[in-house]
């Protein structure tokens, strides 16, 4: 059974540069796919091909089994898209703009008004509905962009950096909005912000130089981090070198790094093979009767993984 969004061997070349190089993946309803990668990795180009703005040089994009190049208009009806930077017509008001988008999407009369009302409520735009878009703040502009993308309740939602340039509160709002829509849609969003992936995505694809370099759930990727299952231990009243020695002698421990800070010894203990070592570490602390101030397991950091896999080649 093919996924709702099927991407097969997608390739796009710009004169000297292969921006997207043979990318394939599928996204199904209920999935929120985080599309990660350094600037220029090909994220936006891929999204532009999925939404039918750019024509691929090779490969296919199919939504529900229908090719976007063959039946562009029919497929575009099923997609909502927020382009990078949320471009909008600055001379229009949000009300007029949403009316325009809704009308093009085939709604009219009471149905159109109801959809605009519901969407405006969802993204909290009511207060600025009659101001011209050019005068709105960045946060409001982004919300207008999101509103036009979800107005027709699409099965497939493509969001290119939906929270870029928003303040922390607005970011939280947008993420909550995305999470709420996740159950009955296939959502692809690109981002630079790794915490965002943790907050909203249940799948991550990392691209570099136009190729997919990692694909998995956020926790699978975190497991690739050297920090995965590492243990942080803070003890006071103990000699730093002694603690480090003891920790490194433990079975299952690859190495330990200890530094003295504020009269406490802060240690990070790295496991061999990523296996859990919390029990061993807490065991030795109890055995030696160290004065433990803090003890916890690290989950692994996505940004470490991101950095290692996008820079090694």
């Amino acid at each position: 059974m093919a996924a709702l969004v099927e991407i097969n061997h997608l390739t796009k070349r710009f004169s000297f540069l292969t921006a997207v190089d043979d990318i394939s993946f599928g996204v199904d309803k209920g999935e929120v796919l985080g599309f990660l990668g350094p600037n220029g990795a090909g994220k936006s180009t891929t999204m532009k091909m999925i939404t039918g703005f750019l024509t691929p040089d090779a490969g296919k994009v199919q939504i529900g089994g229908v090719d976007i190049v063959d039946q562009a208009v029919a497929v575009k009806k099923r997609i909502g898209y927020l382009p990078e930077g949320a471009p909008l017509y600055p001379d229009m008001t949000p009300a007029a703009f949403l009316h325009f988008v809704g009308a093009v999407r085939g709604f009219s009369g009471e149905e159109l008004r109801k959809r605009i009302r519901d969407t405006v409520d969802k993204v909290h735009l009511t207060s600025v509905l009659e101001q011209s878009i050019g005068t709105l703040s960045k946060g409001f502009k982004r919300r207008v962009g999101i509103a036009q993308a979800i107005l027709h309740d699409p099965e497939v939602l493509i969001l290119d950096e939906p929270t870029d340039g928003l303040d922390p509160n607005q970011k939280q709002e947008v993420r909550a909005l995305i999470r709420n829509m996740a159950t009955d849609k296939a959502i692809i969003l690109s981002t630079h912000i790794l915490e965002e992936v943790d907050a909203v995505c249940n799948r991550v694809i990392i691209v570099a130089d136009g190729k997919i370099v990692a694909d998995g759930t956020p926790s699978q990727l975190e497991a690739k981090s050297p920090h995965h299952n590492a243990v942080t231990l803070v003890v006071s009243d103990v000699d730093q070198r002694h603690v480090q020695q003891q920790l490194e002698l433990l079975t299952g421990v690859a190495s330990a790094q200890c530094v003295v800070q504020d009269n406490c010894v802060h240690c990070t203990v790295y496991p061999a093979n990523g296996n859990p070592i919390l029990a061993a570490v807490s065991g030795i602390a109890r055995e030696r009767a160290w004065n433990v101030e803090e003890l916890h397991v690290q989950r692994g950091r996505l940004d470490d993984v991101f950095r290692t896999i996008t820079t090694k080649e």
Binding site: L54, T55, V73
Partner: protein, 244 residues
Amino acid sequence: MSSVWIIAKRELSGYFTTPIAYVFIVIFLFLNGVFTFYLGSFFERGQADLITFFGFHPWLYLALIPALTMRLWAEERKAGTIELLLTLPVSMFEAVLGKFLATWIFAAIALSLTFPMWLTVNYLGQPDNGVILASYFGSLLMAGAYIAIGSCISALTKNQVIAFVITVVICLIFLLSGFPLVLDFFSGWTPEILVRAISGLSFLTYFDDISKGIIELRDIVYFVSLIIFWLFANAVLIEVKKAD
């Protein structure tokens, strides 16, 4: 087909939410008056017709229509909204036609506001109103050709000033190809048929007929095929250049 109309409506209201519409209409009417009454010696001629009025239209359009069309695609490209527009469920054909129609309707509005001119000649004498009506129709048809050229050129660039200048130059070539200035240059040494072909490309050749009230099928075919050609080129250009 309804998408064409929705796009046209948005584009048309875009003219009126900015000062463009008002500035354009005022200047268009003002220049029409100046040209007809002063340069065209309307009163001195002592004839109740609008031949001088329409005679200036090709030149008036040359300066003013590119100002209407320069934003059509250049602005969309600059603001990035072209990505929004072309990922909506509309075909390229509908988008191009919608924008073209919006500008054409706007030109029709501006043209129809010259009606005091028509009232004036009817007050002063008994003009042939059939001829005047035909001339209005022909003038609008010619405006359509200017708009199609301008729309196509606007798709070439993100810069509205460049779009304006190139459109003026191309329209000027289409205008002058029927003028002695260009034709004399060719007539001495090129075969008659080529000279005829070159003059056959000119707006003026066809518009002259129409402004005298004679609408022939070939005049209509000429302008309509010019519009279709440039709009087709417009769609192709956007398809090719939308990535940059």
